[in-house]
């Protein structure tokens, strides 16, 4: 049984399947997520696959500041992903609602609605930062599933580029 758990943990880490959800993004991050799968970055080396159905996915990648209309969809899609699962918030929008902060059509940030495991800040983030975020999320997911403990504090990826601004923006949140 222990051996099976160990094998399962390795396999979960090595085969993260993504489902990409746009919750009102400007498409900047969406393009970068797709760029992460192109020949230059080739995320498939890590076993990453973009899946068409949330039922097949392990990791939910959310872009966009979560508009009021998108809240129900985000929650439904999160519930449709079979556990163990992880959430990666791609870009500054799902983390802080970014430049749309005072808009009355928003109901963000993402953490208000579903638990987030990894933030990849940037407007948009670079594809390599996204790949790093997905790899971190896969690790979190594998460890959490084997130990059964929830991860409390989300990880922030891309320290060199985005993190200082990101921290400042999150502290400025009401």
């Amino acid at each position: 049984m222990k051996l099976w758990n160990k094998l399962l943990c390795t396999c979960r880490r090595k085969s993260p399947w993504l489902f990409h959800m746009n919750s009102g993004s400007c498409n900047g991050c969406d393009i970068e997520l797709v760029a992460a799968l192109t020949p230059r970055y080739d995320a498939e080396q890590l076993g990453v696959r973009l899946q068409g159905s949330p039922r097949h996915a392990d990791i939910l990648c959310v872009t966009g500041p979560v508009t009021a209309k998108a809240v129900a969809a985000v929650k439904t899609v999160y519930d449709q992903i079979p556990s163990p699962k992880a959430v990666v918030a791609i870009g500054s929008c799902p983390a802080t609602t970014n430049v749309f902060i005072d808009s009355r059509t928003l109901d963000g940030p993402l953490e208000k609605h579903i638990p987030v495991d990894v933030f990849v800040p940037g407007c948009p983030p670079r594809p390599d930062a996204i790949i790093q975020g997905v790899a971190k999320a896969a690790e979190i997911l594998a460890n959490r599933a084997s130990t059964g403990q929830p991860v409390v504090t989300p990880i922030v990826v891309g320290e060199a580029t985005g993190e200082p601004c990101f921290r400042a923006a999150r502290e400025a949140q009401p």
Binding site: C11, K14, E44, Q45, G47, S53, S83, A145
Partner: protein
């Protein structure tokens, strides 16, 4: 031990050990990897690691599936099992080793078993009650009606021209031009049978979510992936059986078989990565208008040639 029990044991060994389940499952993972890797290389990428299909399978086995009460849930769990069982049976019938047995008419059984996974996919899509799965199933049904006519005509023409429906006899008979024509027709049908580009309509990734598989989760999805891999082996193995020249060596025959299957898998993956998805009407037109003429011609020639030979003064 009497004859019956020996035959039963041989059949069980072929189904469960070689070339059946024990051998075919790792082989299915290997060929799934070959497919993904060659698509990646065609696109100038590095591609997935060697063990990727195995990792995917184990990971999916460890996922929790939602509760599905009632007969619909039971059916949804049954379809992937049936598809996998049929595909394993088809692989078990392949005459990989020389003098491996078989019986008169096993080609017909192989064709029937090859058709079962496709029917299971159609039924699975409809029983999952997702609108995207239903669209995918409808497409699969239309596609299977169009390529199967060509596929069956090609097999019939090969079998009729060589006067046997026994796979092992077919494998040892000399190659005729008509047989090569049939092999080409079978190869043309394979992308549709295996849902590859340009005929990847039924599972059309992203376009209709995941097609008939949209609602499938965890272990069930893992079984679907595995049955897809077994289908790869069974259908490419059928063509390899027809292509392979007669080899009597016990170790060379399986090697040559594997090499030919490998070649076909690479060829299909290269075609898949070099083409774009066709619309449903173009796909159907391709099989009914372009390919059917050749397959029909082959079948007519195959049935007419013995009569013509007899009529010769």
């Amino acid at each position: 031990m009497n004859l019956d029990s020996t035959m039963l044991l041989t059949a069980l060994a072929r189904l469960l050990i070689f070339p059946g389940l024990l051998f075919a499952v790792p082989a299915a993972w290997f060929f799934l990897w070959v497919e993904r890797k060659s698509v990646a290389l065609m696109q100038g990428r590095v591609g997935p690691p060697f063990m990727q299909p195995f990792y995917d399978f184990i990971k999916l086995m460890g996922k929790t599936a939602p509760e599905r009460p009632g007969i619909a849930g039971l059916l949804m769990r049954a379809w992937p099992l049936m598809a996998m069982a049929a595909a394993t049976g088809a692989v078990g019938l392949l005459p990989v080793l020389p003098t491996s047995g078989g019986f008169e008419g096993d080609l017909i059984l192989l064709l029937a078993l090859l058709e079962v996974p496709s029917m299971c996919i159609i039924a699975a899509g409809f029983s999952s009650r997702s609108i995207f799965a239903e669209i995918g199933s409808a497409r699969e049904a239309v596609l299977s009606v169009s390529y199967n006519v060509v596929f069956l005509l090609a097999v019939v023409s090969i079998a009729a021209s060589q006067n046997t429906f026994r796979l092992e006899t077919l494998a040892t008979l000399p190659h005729t031009p008509l047989r090569w024509l049939g092999i080409v027709a079978l190869l043309v049908c394979l992308p549709a049978k295996l849902h590859l580009n340009p005929f990847s309509l039924p599972n059309a990734e992203q376009e209709i979510y995941a097609g008939p598989m949209t609602e499938y989760v965890g272990p069930e999805l893992a079984l679907w992936e595995l049955s897809h891999g077994l289908e790869w082996i069974a259908s490419t193995g059928l063509i390899a059986t027809l292509i392979i020249p007669r080899i009597d060596s016990w170790w060379l025959a399986p090697l040559a078989f594997a090499a030919i299957v490998f070649g076909i898998v690479v060829l299909l993956s290269v075609v898949a990565s070099a083409t774009a998805r066709l619309a449903i009407d173009s796909s159907v037109r391709f099989y009914w208008q372009c390919t059917l003429i050749f397959a029909g011609l082959a079948a007519v020639l195959a049935i007419a040639s013995p009569i013509l030979v007899r009529l010769k003064p």
